[in-house]
């Protein structure tokens, strides 16, 4: 271990603290109590109360003002793990956050109290001996502390201590709500960066959930045309059409094979598709994308899904189709903020449900229930 981060952010220090307690449903707390939404290996979700932290050297204390709920938060709660990341203890949720600086640690010169920031929650080691960090791909740092990936507690809380270098200033014209949405936007922008999307490229986006929709907004801003988007739910496709009126929508039919689905998609596109941004991580959808793109095309997978999947090997091979992947993001926040501030990407319509921090458990239930029709559920304090 070459950095102090795993020790500084050691979750056991919180869990073993005398002031840490799991709250029962409806238990009242003070308005400045450091409550947070936690889940555990028994798939329970509840509010907890934590001690209010103090910022150490190079850290700031933030009042977290907005946090979006991500599908991964829901998945950790309900299924206890994603890939090799397993929930082994009480774990705090949330990583899509923006907040306000309320206290400075020793030696902090970059920020002052009152500054409004978006929080980049993946804290890499940044050591020269770490190849990913040294070569500009810090999203690949094996020693990263990513708040809300077990065991590290997340940012869906009231008070949170954060390294000063991993905060990004919010311009006055960006709300905390938009600042928190910069995290999923960073995911989409990282994908678009590495996907090779170019002006005028015909594009297929699989999935009209939050990541598919943010990718749609970014792809439109990048001049993709035409854009086709798919989803299992008509309501999500309708939402996509409201966001980007020129998009072409295709409802996925479960009885159709991926080849049949692809034929429908190609007909709607009216020509060959060069690239697909796959935002579901579902095996059948990835196969559909593979059958949809042209010779030499590319399927770029942003979505996360089952650990083992089958894919149409011969179709990929005989058509020289690339299958490429994205994991989190590196150096995307400044660009995300710049694009939102300049109006090239409008995130405002994405937040469909808002809850107070005290109602975080209800928020999770809404986020987890497709019938509620939520796109992005945010906790705001």
């Amino acid at each position: 271990m070459v950095t102090q981060n795993p020790d500084i952010y050691d979750p056991r220090k919180i869990l073993q603290h005398s002031e840490f307690k799991v709250l029962s449903a409806g238990e009242k707390t003070d308005s400045d109590a450091n409550i947070a939404a936690f889940y555990n290996p028994a798939h329970e979700i509840h509010l907890v109360q934590k001690p209010k932290p103090k910022p150490g050297p190079g850290q700031v204390l933030l009042h977290v003002r907005a946090t979006g709920i991500c599908g991964s938060d829901v998945h950790f709660w309900r299924h206890g793990g994603i890939g090799t990341m397993i929930v082994t203890d009480e774990c705090g949720s949330g990583h899509e956050s923006a907040g306000e600086v309320v206290e400075l640690g020793e030696g902090v010169t970059e920020w002052k109290v009152g500054d409004r920031v978006a929080m980049e929650v993946g804290i890499p080691c940044s050591q020269p001996s770490c190849t990913p960090c040294r070569t500009g791909k810090y999203n690949g740092c094996p020693d990263v502390v990513f708040f809300s990936t077990p065991p590290y507690h997340g940012t869906l809380t009231r008070w949170h201590v954060h390294p000063e270098q991993w905060l990004h200033r919010l311009p006055d014209n960006l709300s905390f709500e938009e600042g928190a949405l910069c995290e999923p936007l960073a995911v989409a922008l990282a994908g678009i960066d590495r996907s090779g999307l170019r002006l005028g490229d015909p594009l297929l986006i699989c999935g009209a959930g939050p990541i598919g929709l943010v990718s749609l907004l970014a792809a439109r801003a990048a001049g993709a045309e035409p854009i086709v988007i798919t989803d299992l739910f008509q309501s999500r496709l309708d939402f996509a059409k409201k966001l980007v009126p020129g998009v072409h929508t295709v409802l996925v039919e479960r009885e159709l094979s991926p080849e049949q689905q692809a034929a429908k998609i190609k007909a709607v596109a009216g020509g060959e598709l060069k690239l697909s941004l796959e935002c579901t991580g579902v095996e059948s959808s990835i196969s559909t994308a593979i059958f949809s793109v042209q010779f030499g095309g590319r399927v770029f997978v942003i979505g996360v899904g089952k650990s083992e999947q089958k894919f149409p090997f011969m179709h990929l091979s005989a058509n020289e189709i690339d299958l490429k992947f994205q994991y989190r993001y590196a150096d995307q926040y400044p660009k995300a903020i710049r694009l939102v501030a300049a109006g090239l990407i409008n995130l405002k319509p994405l937040v469909t449900h808002r809850f107070a921090l005290e109602e975080a458990v209800s928020a999770f239930h809404v986020a987890a229930d497709p019938a509620q029709g939520a796109i992005k559920v945010q906790i705001q304090d």
Partner: protein, 377 residues
């Protein structure tokens, strides 16, 4: 009636075949010619012969390019010289009147934009997809090949691209200059959110800025010597403009560009659309370490470059020549409004009968023209 020998010879020199018979169209086939000694004149030519792979197009709109002005006033661009009377024109759109016996991709009545560079499709460049580099290309309106500034023209069908009903012929004639810009932009691949500099706010600079903006580049800074051209840029929605003074050296210019764009937004690509040595040098100093200068603009055959400044900072120059495979994409982008209000590039329109006035407008500074077009009903 037969084609006079002198005219037949003039036409033949530029690749237009006649068989001696003077065919007539519905209206006179007026054409605009340039001479080796810097004169422009109008002379009627016969209605064209339609080869088996050609179509006859009634040219309904043609834009005038800076290169045409240059061929007129100086007689050459680089090694390409006007050595015989030449019909100008390469930015055209029109309606198909007749199709050759082998033609399958278009029919009579189709409305098309003309791609002027007719490549051989047999050489190494063509076969590898870079047909813009074909050494034996016949490029309309560039010596030695006659161009599209006549009422009726014959052109190979594979270089005629259908335009949607919602697109005007004037817009169809913009596809060529927009393709130059789109081709340049695709050589540099500006990305969503990337800070970009455009040097020169003439038609190509403005078109490049439109394409860069459509690709999501941001912020975009445009420079020019002329305030009126920057006003044109502002009208197109580009707020970040800089009027360059000739008195500034490259350091002053590049510093002012970087100041304007902000310390977090050092330009990563510069689309150099002037061809002027001083502007190229400024662009080299303005771009970020590791950045790219994309040279679109044409200028003097030889210039001086600050090569060690480039080397120390790994700044590259990538050149772009014309375009390849751009028509279908640019037509789609223009029609679906992805390129914004590109129409605003057209500042003056003249009927074919007033083509000489159109050329005069291009060389009259007070007219403040960007793209001048000739239209025919």
């Amino acid at each position: 009636m037969s084609v006079p020998e002198k005219l037949a010879a003039k036409l033949a020199k530029g690749g237009v075949v006649t068989d001696g018979v003077w065919r007539k169209g519905a209206k006179p086939n007026v054409a605009l010619w340039v001479t080796e000694d810097h004169r422009l004149y109008e002379e009627e030519i016969p209605y064209p012969i339609c080869g088996p792979d050609d179509c006859i197009v009634h040219v309904r709109a043609t834009g005038i390019c800076g290169s045409e002005i240059h061929f007129w006033k100086t007689g050459r661009i680089g090694d390409c010289k006007v050595t015989h009377d030449l019909i100008l024109g390469h930015e055209s759109a029109g309606e198909i009147l007749e199709v050759g016996s082998n033609v399958k991709n278009v029919v009579k009545g189709d409305r098309v934009s003309i791609e002027p560079g007719v490549a051989c499709w047999e050489c190494k460049q063509c076969v590898s997809g870079r047909y813009n580099l074909c050494p034996t290309v016949k490029f309309s309106g560039t010596p030695p090949s006659h161009g599209t500034m006549s009422r009726y023209v014959a052109h190979p069908a594979r270089y005629l691209h259908k335009i949607p009903d919602t697109m005007t012929f004037a817009q169809g004639a913009l596809i060529e200059p927009l393709s130059v810009a789109a081709g340049a932009v695709s050589r540099a691949s500006p990305k969503l959110g990337q800070p970009v500099l455009v040097c020169g706010a003439g038609p190509i600079g403005l078109a490049a800025a439109l394409c860069a903006r459509a690709a999501g580049a941001h912020p975009i800074c445009i420079t020019d010597l002329e305030e009126s051209r920057l006003e044109q840029a502002q009208l197109l929605g580009f707020k970040l403009t800089l009027k360059v003074e000739l008195a500034w050296d490259r350091f002053e210019t590049s510093n002012r560009i970087r100041d304007l764009m902000g310390a977090d937004c050092v330009p990563e690509i510069a689309f150099e659309c002037t061809g002027a040595q001083s502007s190229i040098a400024s662009a080299i100093y303005a771009v970020v370490d590791g950045g790219t200068v994309l040279q679109v603009g044409c200028g003097k055959p030889e210039i001086e470059l600050p090569i060690m400044a480039m080397s120390f900072r790994e700044v590259n120059i990538i050149t772009s020549f014309r375009y390849k495979q751009t028509w279908p994409t640019v037509i789609r982008l223009l029609n679906d409004a992805v390129l914004g209000e590109a129409d605003k590039l057209i500042t003056h329109s003249f009927p074919l009968e007033k083509i000489m006035d159109a050329f005069q407008t291009c060389v009259t500074k007070e007219a403040k023209s960007i793209k001048v077009q000739i239209l025919d009903d």
